[in-house]
Every structure is written in C-alpha cells, then in structure tokens.
C-alpha cells in the first residue's frame, strides 16, 4: 500500500504504538504534577505559591527541545542515575506539560465561586479539605476542555522525542524515508497523527458533555 512494504508498515505501526505510550505516560505524569502545581499556586502559603510560580515560568519559557536534550544528557549518567531514552522522554514531556496543566488547573480553581469556598471553610473544613471536596471537583470539570487541548498538543509534541533517539512515529517515518526515498512516508505519518488526535478530541468532548457543570 502506498508503495511501502509490509516491513515498513510494521515499522511505522510500532512507532505509532510508542507515540501512544509516550502520550499516555507523560500525560498521566503531567496531570498529576499539574494538579499539585495548580493547588500550590492557590495555596494560602506564600512560599508554596512562589515555588509553583517559578516552576511554571521555568518550563513555560524554555523550548521543549532544550528540555528534552538537557534531560537526555543529564540522565545519561552525569546525575548518578542512568535512564533509558524513552523514560527520559516521558519525564521531560510530563514535566514540561505539567507547567501548562498547572495553569489550567489554577484557572479552573478561580472559576469556583467565592461563596462555595467560604461555605466550605465556615463548615470547619481545612484548606485541603475544602480543596478536596469542594473546589477541585468543580475546577477539574471546568478544566476539561483546555486539558483536552493540552493532551492533543502533547501527543504532537512527543514527535520531538525522536531527536533523542526515541524511535517514535516521526523517527520511524524519517528512517523509512531514508530507506525508500519515498516522500509520501511523511504524509502517511501525518495522517497517522491525525488518526490519533481526532478521536482524542472527540473523546474529550464526550467527557466534557458527561461531566458538564449544570448552572
């Protein structure tokens, strides 16, 4: 099909699977870290707020490629730990994206009405309790659409991991192009990315409708 042999298709599909795994793992990591950062940014303790703000600004202002290559070099044995390229990429992608997720969560927390928070606190709930039972459930729902956008962006960003020898979809597409001199391979890879992102977008809007806050 499209002038590619079965072996080359298999190569591309292996890359596709790795791209999905990278997105899943680093997406999970970024949401977990992002929620922590988002809560820290709205915490009543000034020091926590500054730390979270510094973290956000750091990773929001450095190009992802730089973060990836730095992690690749740094976790190659210099820091005393050696991680393989795929783990390195998952960590770098997750940490980078968590800065954005943190902002989205913070924005979600801001949508919670002041009356709700005051009611929760006057019931004798601590900050963490109010966060856990009142603010966060509302904030997460409000954050679903922008989170979906972030995850789709993350899926496309995983292609940058190909620069640190992670054999994802784009890396395989490059390889197959070099082997076959077939310029359509990149088009096929592009179509594969779309075949991943479109259903992801649809999934996000389904979740959004299910969990919408009725006002």
């Amino acid at each position: 099909m499209f002038g590619l042999t079965a072996e080359n298709w298999e190569l591309l599909f292996q890359g596709l699977l790795l791209t999905l795994w990278l997105t899943f793992a680093s997406g999970l990591l970024s949401v977990a870290l992002g929620i922590i950062v988002g809560i820290m940014r709205s915490a009543p303790i000034g020091l926590l707020r500054s730390i979270a703000a510094g973290y956000t600004e750091l990773f929001r202002n450095i190009p992802l490629l730089t973060v990836l290559f730095f992690a690749y070099i740094y976790f190659g044995g210099r820091a005393g730990i050696t991680l393989d390229a795929i783990t390195t990429a998952i960590i770098a992608l997750g940490v980078y994206t968590s800065a954005y997720v943190g902002e989205v969560i913070r924005a979600g927390l801001l949508t919670v009405s002041k009356g709700n928070i005051e009611a929760a606190r006057s019931q004798g709930m601590s900050f963490m309790q109010s966060m856990r039972y009142v603010q966060l459930p509302q904030a997460l729902r409000a954050a679903i659409p922008p989170l979906g956008t972030l995850i789709i962006a993350l899926l496309k960003n995983t292609s940058l991991a190909s620069t640190i020898t992670v054999a994802d979809l784009l890396f395989r597409a490059d390889l197959v192009t070099d082997r076959t001199f077939n310029p359509d391979v990149l088009l096929i890879a592009g179509a594969m990315y779309v075949a991943l992102t479109l259903p992801l977008g649809a999934l996000v809007s389904v979740i959004e409708r299910r969990w919408a806050i009725l006002r």
């Binding site: 190569l11 070099i73 620069t163 992670v166 390889l175 070099d178 082997r179 001199f181």
Partner: protein, 387 residues
Amino acid sequence: MRKFRLLVLLLVAVFVMSACDVNVATPTATTAPPAAAPTNTEAMAAPTDTTAAPEPTETEAEAEPTNTEAMAAPTNTTAAAPTNTTGAGGAVTNDLAAIKARGKLIAGVKYDVRIFGYLNPETNQVEGFDVDLARAVATRIFGNPDAIQFEEAISRNRIPYLDEGRVDVVFSTMTANATRAEQIGFSDVYYVAGQSLLVPVNSDITGVQDLSGKRVGTAKGSTSEVNIRAFAPDAQIELFDAYAQAVAAMDAGRLDAVTTDDIILYGFERNSPDKFKVVGGQFTQEPYAAGVKKGNNELLAEVNAAIRDLKESGEWGVIYKRWIGTDPAAVPPQDWQDVYAEAPTVPTLVPEQATTATAGAQSAAATAAAAASPTPATAPAAGTPTP
C-alpha cells in the same frame, strides 16, 4: 530605567552603524574590477606580467571574497583583465587562458569543515587542506599562492557553481564517483577519506571489530549508518539528526562510539583532544578530488600537475601533517577509480543478516528494530550525498 533604555538604544544604534559601515564598503569594492577591463588585448599577449606583480599584503584580505576582489583589482590593471566570470552565467569559459587573463584563480572551498576548509573566525581567513591545495594550483599557474579568490562552495551548490562559471575549480571535500564524473571533470586524488570511529579517550575500543554490543551513534540516513550496520552487525546503532548531537550524547555517557567520515571526526578530536580520540583507521574509502567544469582540460592538466608536484616533492606529506596531525600512511593513488578497486570489499547487508542481527540484540528494542527493514545497502549509499 529611562537611562537604561537610552543605553540599549544607543547600543543598537552603534551596532547598526557599524553594520552599515561594512555595507558601504562593499559596493565600491565590487565596482572596481569592471572598470579595469578595457585593455584586454595586452593581457592576452602578456600573461606573465601578472606573475611579476605578486602582492604580499594581499594575504590580509584573502578570506573575505569582496575585499580580495578590491585588493586584486589594482594589481590587475597593470596586466588588465576581462573579469566577467561571476555575473555572466553559463556562457563563460573558465579555461586556462581566461584565468590567466583575469590574473587570479577562483576556487570554491568549504567554509565550515574544520581541517579542510574553514573560515577561521579569529583571522577571518579560510584555511585547511583544501585551501592549501587550491593555493598550490594558484602557485603553479601564477607563481603566487595569493593570486586566488575563495568562494564558499557547499556540497549542494559546488557542481552548479562550476557549470555557471562562478568558480574555476572546487576543492570542497568532494568524493569522486562515477555519477559525478559524468557532470564534471575530476582531478587526481589528493586525499582518501574514510569512515572511522571517535571514542572517549579512556575507551578500550581500538577498531570496528570491538563494537559488538556497543552503543554506536551516527546520523540518520547517512551512508555512515549503512556502512556501520554492515561492518558491525552486532553493535547497537543510535541515530541522531546531527553528528554534534551524537558526540554530546557520547560525552554524557550514552554512547561508546560515534562513527562517520574521519575528517569530521578529526574535527571533533581537534576541538577537544582531552575528551575524544579517533581510533581504528578507515574501514571505507572515499577518494577526494578537485573538480573543474567538464571540458576545461587545460585547467585540469594544471591542477593535476600541481597535485602531482606536491606528491612527488613531499610537500603533500607536509600539508597532510599540518592539518591531519600525523604522518600519512601512503600517498593516495592518482586515479580515483583505483581507490575503489583497492578498497576492502564491503560486506553487503542482506536482509537475512540484518534480521538475525536484530534478533540477537532484541532487548535493544527501539532503534535496533529499525534494522529489520530490508535495507538495499547499495541504494542509500548511491543516493545519499557524501560529505
């Protein structure tokens, strides 16, 4: 705060003005040569005049093409020159008579390859193995190594430059092969490059035979990748976009070796001799030869004579040692085809071989699996531009 802003503005203004200064200087320089053109009959009759007027002060401007032109123009006026080479396009013949009349040789060299053709930012001069050989040709024709103007010729444009007559000759780390020999004329071989290995200084790898199970980095889609898979089928190959990235990865401990043409590796070694060393010699052979426009046989004869003189007088070995750093093992053969004939037979990478290699290193999953694709070893080798 306002003062700070003013300071920045001032700095920008100074920068722009200094940039303008350079720009103002060039037009006057480029207009000079055409003005020198009229009396060309005299020049044809007396080409020896130019050799009598060497100007030692010219060296200073050598690296900057526009300046060289300006400097060369006054000396040319005495012998007068029809310098119509750059603008006029394909119709111009750059054969020997035209070059002699012009009073200088125009050579295309690389500006970014350390050791061969490199624009030294400190001296603003191009220098290297290729540059020295081009100067030897200028010496042969004009008796003056400075009767030469350098143009940057990258791999992609060096053959078009010859066709258009923008340059007379290219010394541009160019591998002579049959495909290219159909388009341009190749001189005698002046260097035999080959694929080699760069390893950390404390490494115990001594050659391509020690690479079994080792992590070896190279560039995606290069001939080097095809070759190393054939020569070291049990190595774990990691692919990068650029060689510098691979070397950085090796420095960080992620690779045991980096492989590509030795001249590129020598550049890295030269840059940080405390970290890296080139080992194992060459396991492939690529004959480097100068190129001229097809049909410029008189010029080609001069280039060949210059190269032959260098080889016979031993000067070639001196130049080799100056740039490569060691004494040459052997003087390269005259004909580039002989290099391929003498080369050790490359083990051909048949699909079966590649798959078994992958099965052996299955744990090395990701990149190694790439080897499973049946690679027609010859196809990429022929299609990928060699450095």
